[in-house]
Symmetry: C2
Subunit: 289 residues, 2 copies
């Protein structure tokens, strides 16, 4: 069967795996070339609005809740008392919105290199940006790598790296030099979490991230997995690292009694997301050798 040609499709080809994901498009609403990348917004038939960067799916209205909830709530319920949170990337503001649901958070800095991502999210994904006016939030349009390098030592409790794939502007966010700076910027019990691609397609990258985080001095590293239908393979992961201690569960009671609604996240699901497939367990165990 081929894609019908009497309607328009947006397709993302994942070349190394000979696979593609397509969404039927009602209209292209916007396209622009920024100093960093090309951003496009589409209206799709079944997924609401779609934002792409350099031809790759960033998010859709329909399923972004899974990713945004999993990039924020597990790490925030793992830290004992997160007050100062840094989001690197995340220009669509969906992760920031979830972070701000936590009443204990006092400061949330979002450092996105490309202001146009946020301005377009404000226009085309207003729900994701509904907390941008929160007095605890500060939207900064800077290079996240430099921001972390220059951050006050020990300032942040949690750093969330909500970036694009590790090519182009985001590449430096997946390396030891950056992780060293992140450790310095984190306080006691500080945690980092990073989107870490597909468990089916990118195990090599996942093990590289684990290795680099450990070599940089993080005391423990743990990946979580979750569905993300519009990303390559429909299956995604994030990887948490703890500055100074081994992971030993999370604040389950607080997660159960969270004073805000979620659509994907809950305490049992949090624990479930840390239960990795056997082949992933084996790959990570082999690193510790």
């Amino acid at each position: 069967m081929s894609l019908d040609t009497n309607t328009e499709w947006y397709s993302e080809i994942h070349d190394p795996n000979g696979a593609a994901f397509s969404l039927r498009v009602k209209a292209k609403l916007h396209e622009e070339k920024t100093p960093f990348q090309t951003i496009a917004i589409y209206d799709t038939e079944g997924f609401g609005r779609l934002m792409t960067i350099d031809g790759l799916v960033m998010l859709t209205d329909r399923d972004n809740f899974i990713y945004h909830e999993m990039m924020s709530h597990p790490v925030l319920f793992t830290h004992p008392n997160p007050k100062r949170v840094l989001v690197i990337g995340g220009g669509d503001c969906g992760t920031l919105r979830e972070v701000l649901r936590h009443p204990g958070v006092e400061v949330a800095h979002q450092v996105e290199i490309d202001e146009r991502v946020t301005r377009l999210a404000e226009e085309y994904f207003p729900l994701l940006c509904e907390s941008n006016g929160d007095p605890r939030a500060e939207l900064l349009f800077e290079d996240g790598i430099r921001w972390v390098k220059e951050a006050e030592a020990g300032y942040y409790d949690v750093i969330i790296i909500d970036s694009t794939d590790p090519v182009g502007p985001a590449e430096g966010l997946f390396g030891e030099a950056f992780y060293h700076d992140a450790i310095r910027a984190l306080g006691t019990h500080g945690l980092l979490v990073q989107q870490s691609e597909s468990p089916l397609y990118h195990m090599h990258l996942l093990t590289d991230i684990h290795k680099a985080l450990r070599r940089s001095g993080f005391a423990d590293v743990q990946s979580l997995h979750f569905p993300q239908p519009v990303y390559p393979s429909g299956w995604w992961s994030c990887t948490m690292a703890c500055k100074d201690a081994a992971f030993s569960g999370f604040r389950e009671q607080a997660a159960r009694e969270r004073p805000f609604a979620t659509r994907y996240y809950n305490a049992d699901l949090h624990r479930g997301a840390t239960a990795l497939p056997t082949y992933m367990q084996e790959a990570f165990a082999a690193l510790k050798g």
Copy 2:
């Protein structure tokens, strides 16, 4: 971006959601029309061999392990002592292979309506069929609905419904009349498990399955979720039902000490797969009203 036209793609369009998944094809190895359906086999660039039925992806070499392990091991480690297992559908024999890994299983009947599915699996997916000669296995090519209706009362410990989507020949496997017959064919503590489609695309079907299973007399119903990259949305589910008791965990110790290797399944992951997203919990809770 469009699919390049200088290579051949196999595409499955999921029309109600305006989405499509495509695999780049090196060659079509086989195609035939049986009395029931059209079966095709492709060699793909990144997923090994692919079998489709009536244009829909059934399985690929690369990721079928997730589905087959999740259709077999959770239900078999939930039943206290499964000896007699019935697989309905499952003509590729991958679920049967996993069932036969359990040393306690004494009888495994596979009832597939279309013998050609199995004959083509033997030819093109030989690994999945490697246990077909096991003396405990019996391959029957019959209508699964009639088979269950005519089965000896109380004979089976576990019934696994490894069918295609609930249209065409499989439609009758998703209804109360069939579930009634299944209850009769199940012994004390008997369990049924059924593939139950995508949590993103098919929540209506999932709640319908829950309702029908309960109305038919099953004492408890529980869904599990797992990634399945080649199925629509890349996210899939199965639904278990217990004939006469509420679910209360599974044989965790036995799952930990299982005398066989798995690539996806393990005891922690089993529990994780039962931890449902909040929106699914809410949809199922509303049914109990």
